[in-house]
């Protein structure tokens, strides 16, 4: 009976702390959902825009970034126009070059672009491969390209992963 007043106070304080904690949790959650929706759209658009970008080469195997990715599976040493290096190397350099033009990505994210053809072991990889090992905040965008490789049509699965630095 002697400590009844104090126990009531402590109980009330605990209830208030629970309310405050719940409020802060809900507020932080509401903000992050909106940001995530936007960043998902951003990542998808980044991948799509990248694949559609013209490289400056007029050769059908090298015209767009998506063509270079296709070429790197069908004939990676194919020379685009007067270029000294093969289409795979040109593709890797251009993907890195264009992604780094986006300051938001360059300053805040590590990126990894991976292209694979089902049933084949070779891959087209650009960016920071440690992204696959880490378990940080990440955003992913996927696209599938239908390309003709040595007379057969293949689906090339392309994934872009952005991981917060």
């Amino acid at each position: 009976m002697k400590y009844r007043g104090q126990s009531t106070l402590i109980l009330i304080l605990i209830v208030i702390m629970i309310f405050l904690g719940l409020g802060i949790f809900l507020l932080s959650f509401a903000g992050s959902i909106q940001k995530e929706e936007y960043m998902n759209t951003y990542t998808n658009n980044l991948l799509l825009s990248l694949l559609r970008t013209d490289t400056g080469y007029q050769d059908a195997s090298c015209k767009q970034i998506s063509d270079l990715i296709g070429c790197s599976f069908s004939n990676p040493n194919w020379h685009c126009g007067e270029a000294g290096s093969g289409c795979k190397e040109i593709g890797e350099n251009l993907v890195d070059h264009y992604i780094n033009k986006f300051d938001d990505v360059k300053n805040k994210y590590n990126y990894l672009l991976v292209a694979r053809v089902e049933g084949r072991t070779d891959t087209f990889v650009v960016g920071n491969e440690s992204v696959l090992e880490n378990r940080g905040d990440r955003l992913t965008a996927n696209e599938v390209l239908l390309k003709d490789i040595r007379g057969r049509q293949y689906y090339i699965k392309i994934t872009l992963i952005l991981e917060k630095k």
Binding site: G5, T8, L9, I12, L13, I16, F19, L20, G23, L27, A30, G31, Q34, E37, Y38, T41, Y42, N45, L46, L48, S49, L50, R52, T53, D54, G56, Q58, Q64, Y98, K101, F102, D104
Partner: protein, 167 residues
């Protein structure tokens, strides 16, 4: 003495309960203010998202979804009162810019006189007011891109920035 002690205990308890009620009132008021702030931010954010999607899909500006046509952009951005003209479709209190990431490294605003040797289009001038903006990677279809002496159309990569002013 015991009676006085009990009285004091109840007095303290009453004071604490009143304090707690005041804290709760502050908390609830704060909660309401924050909620209305969140609602407003959400409204502005939704507005920006709407503008971003509308801008990147509107036939006035694009060749196909997400691919802006540089000729359309030049004609529209050179128009006087373009904001007024677009108000029935896009509303007011917004601005948009489209920038091509080319090799020049500097921003050259496109006008009818310098087209196609330019890389930036601006709709409704950015004002010195609080705004929320979003950027989105996009393609820009260059109708008359020069490579040496030849002219080829090509898709360039760039960024769309859309902002909405917080009133």
């Amino acid at each position: 003495m015991k009676g006085q002690m009990e009285l004091m205990e109840y007095l303290f308890l009453t004071v604490f309960v009143i304090l707690i009620i005041i804290v709760l009132m502050f908390f609830i008021t704060g909660w309401q203010v924050t909620q209305s702030g969140i609602e407003r931010t959400k409204e502005v954010s939704d507005e920006v998202t709407f503008l971003m999607k509308k801008f990147s899909t509107m036939d006035y500006f694009v060749k196909e979804d997400g691919v802006f046509d540089d000729a359309k952009l030049t004609v529209l951005s050179s128009m006087e009162n373009v904001c007024e003209e677009l108000r029935p479709i896009l509303g007011s209190n917004w601005f948009a810019t489209i920038t091509v990431f080319d090799e020049s490294g500097s921003i050259k605003v496109c006008t009818e006189s310098n087209y196609p040797d330019c890389n930036h289009w601006s709709f409704c001038k950015k004002e010195n007011r609080d705004f929320v903006s979003r950027k989105l990677p996009v393609n820009i279809y260059r109708n008359t891109n020069r490579i040496g002496d030849s002219i080829f159309a090509k898709n360039d990569i760039g960024v769309l920035e859309v902002g909405f002013y917080e009133i």
